[in-house]
Symmetry: C2
Subunit: 505 residues, 2 copies
């Protein structure tokens, strides 16, 4: 059977793309290993391996060969399989994004960012923004330059948002964040004023690590995590990583004085992992075998951590089991009281310690600052003051110093502007998915209370997981829920939950 | 400061060599991961990563660029640093060895070997040599052809021996094996006839895995294993692997009914690891940062496992500690009886289960067969008969079937002819090193009995470890002990030990 020249070209292209993926797989394993127990004396040399392999990935993504393959295949895009066509688009986007930055700028930026992270660490430890400020100014400078190279539509900040959440814009975010702010800020104030605070002392008794682990494994099993296609390990800053589609690893940290770190952390990372484990195998070996976006990914982790993991139904099923593994700390605590405790909401200074109610407000602070920076409305030097003002306004708390204020996150030191909104979008998406899911699975709570999470996981696979990057985030949302992004679902969800937990009526 | 063209060339060469090493490091990590818990559904895809990265390594080792670098640098070998010069030699050897095999032969051989291993597995399980025979015949055929391509000195088998033990020859092995055989076979017969067999029943009581592990870690500490430059994990078939010089990992298997598997296994792998951890850092990034040979490597593992680990002095120090971790199984067992038990010697059919006395005899069977095969004195079809006869003659036991006879080892299925002698050489080297060490550390037993293993490790680093592949095995032996390979030290060591254990006088 004769094979036409296009078929040959397509084959060459897919092989080339697959080769890039094999390098990325080796890198993913190296990163996992570094974060789960690689001996420290081997780390410096391992960094060189990362350098060489990452260099090869970048070289392949931007090679003359890649450029030619894209150029020669583009005219035939309509004749290619859908997977190849989308892969081609992804590669083109990546190729052009890299090619538009002059190599000298890119190199200088890379060096800058690699230095900035350790300066940020020091600045944070010393709570001294001025230490970090010159680096941040340069990073913002480069990012503004990059936006010019890349071009933008409507608002310069859109180009940065698109890096993490393809298709999302300032227009959309302004609208939904405004809506959330208007509903949540008053709710937070009511909660602060409420006399019906949940009792939480019993959460912080000693819960031995091995027992936590045994309980956590039961929960992962209930979630349908496939242990033949993944594993659970310990680390300092927990994460999930897809090494390949049959090998999705999650990690956790055990705090013997706060079992929630492990249990809700694992449900969160497990949600990420279920996504990766259920992306269609037909996308394997292409850049499409990944989550659609940061925000969609976060919607899956938050769905399991919050919508399932912090629901009354979930603990109706699992509280007795938890008690079996714990050493008596919950013996005198009725389920209702326990449920309220794991849903405690309290305005705080630190984003990563925030509860689900106030979390969006932390994100809005960052969003508004980033947007203003990239529209030249504020300067880096003003950030500490603006930060503290916004925390006061939205959360009613004020950092004592920059270490617990503007310096708390690593993202800016890494040049990751446009990233934060995805976290908040994740919870909006999750609430919207939940609402749509209820049409197909009206007895959602009943399923959770039985520990029968399979139909829920199947619904998510059917509507979200399997598509990988074949669809844009907005497309997934629209096809799964029948409408555009609608923050009202999150607002309703939070209002209902916290009205109940804090007995606001 | 001007840099001459040779310096430039040397730099390019070393960078190229280092790049190969970084790929090998990624591969080593992948192999370690596959053998210590990688989820099984990810394995198939991981095999493709191995294929791509190994392919790159082979391509670089045999590239035109490598060929040119070697050719251009060779005339200046005398002007290069010793490390570069030796690296150049290693690369040249590798390059020529690969280039001399016609690609078509190499490819056919690779395919053959990859199939042969699973056929061997089936044949072993069914104890049916005829299943495996056609594959073995072809493998031997290719290996004979390769020897012709590579050329040989004196005996065709020498070329195969050189792959694992550079410089060793049939002449040397014939002599030492004859000497060992003459001394050991009668000793084995005396032991078999002895009425003074050690009691061993207490070895096989339940010893919980976690307790074994805790004891093992204490022993590794005593050995001076650097946990900042290595780690201990679980696996099915234990091994040690140097991922880089600051990251040398060992593995073990826990048998709750036989703690020796773990403890002596870890001392063995720990001996390999100490070697790698103490190779001079100046060799890093070159192919010289490895053990000098299979045999020298094995000498280090056997030194720790047998010469230290099965000595009376070692257990004088550690028996009480072992009892602390065990659950009473040794309570009524005096040290002397325990010592005899861990030195039990008994002719058996299976090499990997053999004790240190009879181990060399298992190797001799294989050596004599391989030598005869590659000198066209016997054919593959005759192997089962010859195997069984030799086991009868040397060990006084006869396999009931080929599964426990000629099919027991995987080596031939992988084309690894010439490999086995290194195992026996390892123990000869170890005994000879011990003898030389006694001149510098006359109170060897006193040190071991105090748990002060540092001077011993330092002696081995000084005379063996630090050189990596900078010296040939024979050179290391000569420089460290002042003489050529001398099997008499092993014979004396074994005679003394087993005369004592079996009360032969």
């Amino acid at each position: 059977m004769a094979v036409g020249p296009i078929e040959e070209l397509e084959k060459t292209f897919l092989q080339y793309v697959k080769k890039i993926k094999t390098y990325e797989e080796a890198l993913a394993l190296i990163y996992w290993d570094l974060r789960t127990g690689a001996p420290k004396k081997g780390v410096e040399q391992r960094a060189e391996v990362i350098g060489v392999l990452s260099g090869e990935v970048f070289a392949m993504q931007t090679s003359k060969e890649m450029g030619e393959l894209i150029e020669r295949l583009m005219p035939y895009k309509g004749n290619l399989s859908e997977v190849t066509a989308k892969t081609l688009e992804e590669c083109k986007k990546q190729y052009e994004r890299s090619k538009k930055i002059p190599p000298a700028d890119y190199e200088a930026y890379t060096v800058l960012v690699s230095k900035a992270e350790s300066v940020w660490e020091e600045a944070k430890a010393k709570a001294d923004f001025n230490l970090f400020r010159p680096y941040l100014e340069q990073i913002v400078g480069y990012k503004k330059k990059f936006v010019q190279y890349w071009g933008y539509d409507g608002n310069p900040y859109n180009t940065l948002l698109d890096l993490y959440e393809p298709g999302i814009t300032v227009d959309v975010l302004d609208k939904v964040f405004q809506q959330v702010k208007e509903a949540i800020v008053p709710l937070v104030h009511k909660i602060n004023a409420s006399k019906e605070k949940p009792r939480t002392d019993f959460l912080f008794k000693t819960f031995p690590k091995e027992k936590q682990k045994a309980f956590t494994l039961k929960i992962l099993e209930q979630m349908g995590f496939d242990f033949n296609a993944g594993r659970l390990d310990e680390t300092v800053h927990p994460f999930a990583t897809c090494i390949n589609q049959g090998d999705v690893r999650i990690t956790t940290r055990y705090d013997e004085k706060d079992w929630r770190v492990d249990v809700f952390g694992v449900m969160h990372e497990g949600g990420h992992a279920l996504y990766e484990q259920h992306i269609s195998k037909g996308l394997s070996g292409t850049p499409l075998a990944e989550g659609a976006s940061m925000g969609i990914h976060e919607s899956q982790s938050l769905f399991y951590e919050n919508i399932i993991g912090r629901s009354y139904a979930f603990w109706k099923k699992n509280y007795a089991l938890l008690k079996q593994y714990a050493s008596g700390q919950f013996d005198d605590v009725p389920l209702g009281e326990f449920y309220r405790a794991v849903n405690e909401a309290k305005p705080s200074l630190i984003r990563i310690e925030a509860d689900m109610l106030t979390y969006s407000l932390h994100i809005m602070v960052r969003y508004e600052i980033e947007k203003a920076l990239f529209n030249d409305e504020i300067s880096v030097k003003d950030l500490p003051v603006i930060w503290n003002e916004k925390y006061g306004e939205y959360l009613g708390v004020r950092p004592q110093n920059d270490g617990e204020g503007v310096l708390q996150d690593v993202h800016w030191a890494g040049g990751d502007f446009g990233y934060f909104p995805s976290y908040a979008l994740g919870m909006m998406y999750a609430a919207q998915f939940k609402q749509a899911m209820l049409k197909d699975l009206p007895d959602f709570d009943g399923l959770v209370a039985k520990g029968d999470l399979q139909p829920i996981r199947e619904w998510l696979t059917e509507h979200v997981h399997r598509f990988g990057k074949m669809k844009k985030p907005a497309e997934i949302l629209r096809d799964a829920t029948g409408e555009e992004l609608n923050a009202q679902y999150l607002i309703d969800y939070l209002t209902e939950k916290f009205t109940d937990v804090y007995r606001l009526q």
